[in-house]
Symmetry: C2
Subunit: 161 residues, 2 copies
């Protein structure tokens, strides 16, 4: 089972957006990541549709985070890009064959599905416990002191120093 590759792009874009106080054009995000603009646009639209970023129109327009990065979790981004549904889908196997449980006795989920969904919930809770602000801090630490500052300067189009 593979998560959509768009999640990695979307998370990195969210981290980059924390570094800018002004809207960042989609083309600039694509250039920064050396990726096709149309591919990245798809991920940005997913984030926008979920209300995590929004686009500001006009000459110095672009994307901004809608909320503080402390209020956007990894779960928000995963749901936006990869979809909100459960990964385990129950097709009601128990209602098949010679020992089928009658449909009207199936008022609660099958114990097999229940166990699978409980495990998924643990994963979602872990995703919900980490925010874009946490990631931005960790990326900043691991990339060294100049990296995010350099990106910030480049994004806002200012001259360094």
């Amino acid at each position: 089972m593979k998560m959509s590759g768009g999640v990695e792009w979307a998370l990195h874009c969210c981290v980059v957006l924390t570094a800018s106080s002004t809207p960042v054009p989609a083309a600039k995000l694509a250039e920064l990541h050396d990726v096709s603009g149309s591919y990245l646009a798809k991920q940005l639209q997913s984030l926008a549709r979920a209300g995590l970023i929004h686009s500001v129109q006009g000459k110095s327009g672009g994307y901004v985070l809608t909320r503080a990065p402390e209020s956007i979790t990894l779960l928000d981004v995963v749901r936006a890009v990869d979809g909100p549904g459960p990964t385990f889908v129950c097709t009601e196997i128990r209602q098949r064959g010679p020992f089928a449980t009658p449909a009207d006795s199936c008022t609660t989920p099958c114990p097999v599905a229940r166990a699978m969904w409980a495990a998924e919930d643990a994963w979602r809770q872990a995703l919900a416990a980490v925010t874009i602000a946490d990631l931005a801090r960790d990326v900043d630490t691991s990339s060294g002191p100049e990296a995010m500052a350099g990106i910030q300067t480049w994004l806002t189009g200012e001259k360094a120093g």
Copy 2:
């Protein structure tokens, strides 16, 4: 992100196998679940390849669980059928574009990937905490006292009563 539909079949087959003290032919498992034999064979082969079940040859041959159901976890079955790999794949986005982290500085995983994998680990731990024996007990409880006993009788080809 959707898990392979084979996981639901494989889990139900494992639960059924706990009800039989003798090998169960693949055709009988397919009949019990009213599913195509060739489709189910694929899931059973995955379970066998992972060493969770094995086939006994001969006239009264079929599949048996290799270990006690207390020693087979949901994680074992998910890995066998859906593959062992991480669901989040890091393509090293950080090594792209004008602010690329040089490849030889990337000795530890990107903090974004680390956070995603930590969340997956929570899911795997939850899957590893539930066994086929747990499921069999819950299915037995939720299906009523006769269901598993009826299946057991049918599987072993004995007359009821």
